[in-house]
Symmetry: C3
């Protein structure tokens, strides 16, 4: 069986991390399915999905990594052509990736104790984001 | 139900990005399934899969990122042992990853408007690549 | 049908790569399913999953990349708050990602010839790790 759910979140952009673990857990549990996978997919090309231990220190450390690897203060061809100023946002999102897939058993995801699901909004402005949850199971 | 499809593409290598969105969309639509997931998987250790807004500026920006993070002009142990000169290709592919999974509903993938599916061929020569599409749904 | 399997491995940490291809192949084959996907998911926030050509040179090259991109000798807020000294481990794991999904047909994964499935344990000490394999298929 396949059950589709959507989560909408308002973000601040600027590589903010949003913890969506609770929302996903509720949809998995509410699906009535016992065992399967939930695919978490972000529609859009300037945001991405991963897992992290969601505590303030690490949120800073994760940001610092992006500022080192895909900095804001270099030239992006995308910005020269489109003027959005968010070339770095696209590059970061493509590197991190738009989807993860998490198993669940007995209606519960197999996450580690300190492992939260996060959406990272790399865009350079607030956005209303829609995350698609595709629950596949029995 | 599970339906397997394959897409073959001729690449130029050298971190070229190939937009396979249309091909994947056709296979999903043609599967006759309404709702499910399509897993896009690249067989091989010097190519990877992601999504990006497929426009010339960003294709350059994405390349520039790889040249900063996993440059060509440093020493790779793989090259000293095997002489292929594509150590950087392997490292890039492992970082980006071999698979993404995209939900579909009513026969259509839930991609954003400016979000294309790309294969990135990091190898240092042209390759004939086979991408596996595993469509799981109902 | 959904079949859950688990693989336990003892790791050394320090970004060690462990080849789990054989174990996954056995579970896929032993599931009795012919066609589907296997999702490989690591429970925990300091390890990740990918594929690589598993040969000694590349294992070094992959390590070198991490030492360049997410070095040990810079300040992490996580370490200042928690004193674990593994802030870099968390950041690396979040970038690489906790899951990959691999198609299989006729009971065999569609891996390339030189493409192995690896768990990367980024933690700064040995760990007993549990990898969840969710096999979905028919």
């Amino acid at each position: 069986m396949v059950i589709t759910r959507r989560i909408s979140i308002q973000t601040k952009g600027h590589s903010e991390l949003i913890d969506i673990t609770q929302g996903v857990a509720q949809e998995v549990s509410g699906s009535g399915l016992s065992d399967g996978t939930v695919t978490i997919f972000i529609s859009g090309s300037t945001a991405a999905v991963s897992t992290i231990e969601y505590e303030p220190g690490l949120l800073n450390d994760f940001q610092d990594m992006w500022d080192r690897l895909v900095p804001l203060n270099i030239t992006y061809q995308h910005d020269r052509a489109w003027g959005d100023g968010n070339g770095y946002s696209h590059v970061r999102a493509s590197l991190l990736g738009p989807s993860i897939t998490i198993p669940f058993t007995n209606g519960r995801m197999t996450l580690g104790r300190w492992q939260q699901i996060v959406v990272v909004d790399f865009d350079n402005r607030p956005r209303l984001r829609e995350i698609v949850l595709q629950v596949v199971g029995q």
